[in-house]
């Protein structure tokens, strides 16, 4: 179950892929908020074996996050309400980036703001940093200037935000969509129309749990984000909806991926690459295992280039 790290060190040409303007050694990245700033996993897996990693979401200033309890387990999933805690751009550049620069894999920096200007400011500063291969905008944040409604919920607001960030970000710009929507396609279109390079689908689904003994919410902020295997069917559906709509934008699939087969489902549904989130808590070496399992699948199915799988869902007779 647990892998020797070196087996993945040698590059496997069949797994090389491209997504949203970035070339990856293989289609498996680790998801924002579940892989720290990379260094924490250095002792556990071979970072250079990864397709890439996405950092915890960064904001212009440091943030301390929400009061505890912040997480709880649910059926095949978990809720979190960390509160976007992070070290801020400055400390990130100073303390976290040097390690990331030398870790041998692609680095995407997830970022956000609480106002339009904060997004633009943060995006511009991060894009200017050496060692950052691309940015992923987390738009599931409350817009404090608009009554706390998430930026990413309204295609118009989202489009404007993407456009403004695009203007200052010369590096690949991905947008991570919220699943708390009735129309994921409209959100993806707003990103494509405004120059984003890829959409990451999906962020967590808003959920809730109650401790019946105390009658209190299980997480202090009442609502939290649901992640893990429970959400995979929803994530996969949204990836496929966007792919099927033929929007000219690459897709990175996220949600409940536990093994190679799960990852391949996302590729078949139309994702060019995937991110592994909660599974890194369950099995810290899983990203490595998943890469090997994809490789085995390709070998067994006679797939010589993993990109052949993208959108390869078989329909009809």
């Amino acid at each position: 179950m647990i892998l020797g790290a070196d087996s993945l060190e040698k590059e496997s040409p069949a797994l090389l892929t491209t997504c949203g303007g970035i070339e990856f050694r293989n289609p498996v990245l680790t998801a924002s908020g579940t892989f720290g700033y990379g260094q924490e996993f250095d002792a556990l897996i071979s970072l250079r074996g990864l397709g890439g990693l996405v950092t915890k979401g960064i904001s212009p200033e440091p943030r301390f996050g929400n009061p505890p309890p912040r997480i709880c387990e649910t059926a095949a999933g978990m809720l979190n309400s960390i509160g976007l805690e992070n070290v801020g751009v400055e400390a990130f550049a100073r303390e976290k980036l040097p390690f990331l620069r030398s870790c041998g894999t692609r680095v995407l920096v997830n970022f956000f703001g609480t106002t339009f200007d904060e997004y633009v400011d943060c995006g511009a500063r991060l894009a200017a940093l050496d060692g950052v291969d691309g940015l992923e905008m987390n738009v599931s944040c409350p817009n404090i200037q608009a009554g706390g409604i998430e930026f990413g919920r309204d295609p118009l607001v989202l489009g404007g935000l993407v456009k403004a960030c695009r203007a200052v970000v010369r590096k690949p710009l991905w947008v991570k969509l919220t699943p708390n929507t009735s129309d994921i396609v409209a959100l993806a279109r707003a990103c494509a129309d405004n120059g984003a390079d890829a959409v990451s689908i999906i962020n967590t689904i808003t959920g809730m749990a109650i401790d019946v003994r105390t009658r209190r919410p299980k997480i202090a902020t009442v609502f939290g984000g649901l992640s893990g295997p429970a959400i995979k069917p929803v994530a996969l559906r949204m990836v496929y909806q966007v792919y099927r709509a033929q929007i000219p934008i690459a897709i990175c699939g996220i949600g409940g991926i536990q093994d190679g087969n799960d990852a391949i489902e996302f590729l078949l549904a139309g994702a060019s690459c995937v991110q592994v989130g909660t599974q890194s808590f369950i099995d810290p070496a899983s990203a490595e295992r998943i890469i090997r399992e994809i490789e085995e699948y390709c070998r067994a199915q006679g797939v010589t280039d993993v990109r052949e799988l993208v959108g390869g869902l078989a329909l009809g007779q």
């Binding site: 915890k56 996050g65 505890p68 997480i71 387990e73 978990m78 960390i82 369950i282």
Partner: protein, 279 residues
Amino acid sequence: MRYFDARVIENRSLGGGYFVLRLGGCEPLAGSRPGQFIMLRGDWGRDPLLPRPLSLLSVAHEGRADLLAKVVGKGTALMERSPPGSRVSVLGPLGNSFPAPSADVTDLLVAGGVGLPPLFMQAESAAHLGLANGSEMLYGGRTSRDLVLLGEIRGFGIALRLATEDGSLGRRGRVTDELEARLDRGRAAASAQPLRIMACGPRQMLWAVGRIAQSHGIDCYLSLEEQMACGIGVCLGCAVAAQTRPYRYVCKDGPVFPASEVMAHVSVASTSQSRGGAQ
């Protein structure tokens, strides 16, 4: 800290839902210190999903590690039923530890119920260092069934005082009553040695121990618990309110904290605020 496969080599029931799980193949845990813990997960599919944090009870030669756990939910129930030979995955050793026993202080090890393991290991370590007479354990539970491994603890040669809420063993009352009594006696005897308190147990007990220590001006270390997902500081799930900065993390800053660092914010720590749930 390593991530590795281990194997249950013995699973001993102690009654009352308590059991000692002995693992083999835990060479990477050699050198672990009292207070440190592991994230443990059995081969049980997706239910429960996350690994479970368990303190180390004892780490011996040849990759043997002992854990003491109590059945409270699904994960611990599955562990309790794991037969010898079961495979488990282990991430550890994690977290910090209690200060090492020292010839210059007398340590009061205060254990409540299943909070025993780190203090058991601390006592074992004192015994190994020949400092058993500088440690005393105060161990409380609801009934006599909650006080386990007494023979082993006595084997360390440290003083042991027991308390049960129903009076079925030792003093009738809480372990904090026993602690106050001990401190009063100590004051009366004006003992030469300075005291240090180390405690692990239910949250309410820990705050009570912290307050007692504070009022007596005694150094105090508390081993805290919080819901955990990763155990290595990346999920930021195990936050506790603290003095020095808004939050500290049980898995990487703890589980052992100076009481002074976490006590001041006790009320903040239990605040529920109704805000949006962004990560």
